[in-house]
Symmetry: C2
Subunit: 445 residues, 2 copies
């Protein structure tokens, strides 16, 4: 691809950047870009602004069928018909197809043919990552996926290259920028969950169907992929216990503050015998934690290792330009290594989720019609499951017909908590169902 | 190297970790470990606890001359005489020699012979990094140095691999764990600088001669190396303006708190035309910043890029076991790539420091014998250099014979500030010389 300065948008990279790509690259790796959504467009602009990187973007496939923009250099082939794409024409395939089945098929075909691949598809990596990585290793090529987790934050290369010399025990993170935006907006504005979701949609952080984010599917898929790198064990992501954020209210941030905490959308995993303990969902985190410091759509991952104790990575978790950086960084590494350089990405085994959590405190918020005896009934229900009550918090209020209060509970097994909550939900005094949230230990975050 | 469980110390790595090292490695890379200080010992223990990683530790050189510990496996050769080491016997050389001249000579000899090298020597990389990286490229081998910056925090691989697709504009960090420990200890205990240094020495964070850390030499060397990766321009580290921490007192943290800030040991660099603007020294950072959240001996690096805005890396910046993780991670990458795989580390050019800082506010603290007219004299001195006074802060006190107060100044050129301070220092009312500190903009950290 030659560079015509007339169509270089943005600030343009100086020639001093040429050597940032490392040693003289294999001359002109031919790249097919499969997908032309916002990230795809940002990737093309990034590549066009870059010089001498040895990347020859040769083909764009635009699934949406929109017309070819005039700023695309003429030497790049353009198609909206996937049947016209012959992967054997290319050295590297960039998968931004969006469609899971098509992504998986293309990635598999490319790897089978010994072509290295860069993908941004978290669902393909969560479902098929181990098989595809094994295929890449068998074919002596690479499958890179920095863009799948953490937006532009180099979590994948940080874990794979930077912490390979340690044995990691646990990881905790904020992996969904949209969820973090929603929670911090409720915290700052005092508004409702629905208002915050609408604002996230307006900003393009979240699509028409927010369930993928706010119900934790997105976080579970990312957590699964990152466990594969951190622990060599990729969890079956459908098994990850998920908790929706939809019941969070502004009042929960007030009570969290009383506990010197705030609420963040957390993904957590740790090594256990027989597999991994893992969960995703909103949780109370200490205000002194780095997790509490993360606002808006940022992402953060903190690992705990035997030698390194805490190591963290944070930054921009959303936005086409930022995610394109992850894709282009992977491309530059491939071109620098040579497209047929074997992967050093570990091939994870599959692991099951072991859900026994006996070591985490809980926050339970109640909204009730006030009457005598409520605390006694709740205390009896928890006592029946041998769950200790750590504290009872009730802010002064005149609204006795919609009374809000909070209990915090000692660490207890999840099944015991679940049984207690079922028993409590059967009581007649609730205006809204009780909301139980995990409380992260200060040592974790 | 075979594993004898009897001498495996620590918790031992499970066999599940074998595949974490990536694809089947080149069989048995022979490694020479040159240096057996605390980090060297931790590297050997780490390697001994690791299985099937394809690393055959074949030689240890112990510069200190202490006797061979009984836990070193018998098949590893041991010497205290550097003349007996023949680099041609090895595939990979790990340089932990401590002695700069010897380190440089060994690294150069190994690279000349096409052997890949892992080094932890910040001074060698700061002085000779560009030449040695160019030599590695010319010989088709690798020179890796993750341990040089950030302790176990993978800043080098994060910048090189993870953010290669962006164009970075600036970086700010806390790169010296000892310095951060000293400042946070003054903050928390209200004690003196000397007490904090003594405590850091007692903990082994700092040696008998603390000047390397507290005068900023250490930070300048690390900043130089990291600029080479981030900007492709390695600054001449002797040119980096340094400020000592020795004048910091507990009262400065009280005034910083009045300004909603704290004080941290900062290293800063940004692209400018003709080179880089860079400095190291204690600075006021906003309490809301991630920098303020970093306590004790942790390290943090935050980059600002065109597409990624802020990206951060933090974690353990000191301690033998943690730094050994960086060394071993580099070794694992080398073994996985094969020791003759060419480097994709950019070869930086050398760049000069452009010191014009017109965009940073200043904090100036005075300790004076009180008398009428002091503020007027100070205001006149700043006005003579066209420096605007932003605020004057004076906590109530009864100690009029040792009055402390603070001025904050609008952004101004460094030479103007220097001239104003020289003029002010000539006044007769000082008990201690005025202390001027930079104030980081909230957008930076």
């Amino acid at each position: 691809m030659t560079i015509d300065p007339s169509w270089i948008s943005g600030s343009g990279l100086g020639s001093a950047d040429a050597f940032l790509t490392g040693r003289p690259p294999v001359k002109g790796c031919r790249v097919a870009l499969l997908g032309f959504d916002g990230v795809g467009q940002a990737v093309v602009r990034n590549l066009c602004e870059r010089r001498n990187a040895g990347i020859r973007l040769a083909q764009i496939y635009n699934a949406e069928g929109s017309p070819r923009p005039s700023w695309i250099p003429t030497e790049i082939a353009w198609t909206t018909d996937p049947r016209t794409i012959d992967l054997s024409d290319f050295d590297i395939v960039v998968d931004l197809a969006g469609d899971q089945d098509r992504s998986r098929e293309w990635i598999r075909s490319a790897l089978e043919a010994g072509k290295s691949v860069v993908t941004a598809s978290k669902h393909v990596m969560a479902r098929h990552g181990p098989d595809l990585l094994a295929l890449a290793r068998a074919r002596g090529c690479q499958l890179r996926f920095e863009a799948v987790v953490g937006g532009s934050v180099p979590m994948v290369s940080g874990l794979r290259d930077g912490l390979a010399g340690d044995r990691l025990r646990s990881l905790v993170g904020i992996l969904t920028g949209a969820d973090n935006y929603i929670l911090t907006r409720i915290e700052w504005t005092g508004g409702t969950f629905e208002e915050a979701v609408a604002e996230a949609q307006r900003l393009g952080l979240i699509g028409d169907n927010p369930a993928d984010d706010v119900e934790g599917h997105d976080a579970a898929a990312k957590l699964s992929v990152i466990c594969g790198i951190a622990f060599g064990r990729q969890i079956v992501f459908e098994e990850v216990p998920r908790q929706s954020m939809a019941a969070i209210e502004a009042i929960d941030f007030q009570y969290a503050a009383r506990l010197d905490c705030t609420i963040r959308p957390i993904a957590y995993a740790e090594r256990r015998s027989g597999g991994l303990s893992a969960w995703v969902g909103p949780a109370l985190v200490p205000r002194a934690s780095m997790l509490a410091h993360l606002h808006g759509s940022q992402n953060l991952l903190i690992t705990t290792g035997e030698a390194t104790t805490r190591t963290g990575f944070f930054g921009v978790g959303a936005g086409s330009r930022a995610i394109a950086v992850a894709v282009v960084s992977d491309l530059l590494a491939l071109v620098s290594d040579g497209p047929r350089h074997p992967s050093r990405m570990p091939v994870p085994t599959r692991a099951h989720v072991v859900t026994a959590e006996t070591d985490i405190r809980r926050y339970v918020r109640f909204v009730v019609h006030d009457r005598p005896g409520i605390i006694a009934e709740l205390a009896a229900a928890f006592a029946a499951e041998r769950i200790g009550i750590e504290s009872v918090l009730q802010e002064p209020t005149l609204r006795r017909n919609e009374l809000v209060f909070v209990m915090t509970l000692d660490p207890c097994p999840q099944p015991a908590l679940d049984r207690a909550v079922v028993a409590i939900e059967a009581c007649d005094f609730h205006i809204r169902p009780p909301l139980a949230l995990r409380m992260l230990d200060p040592a974790v975050g």
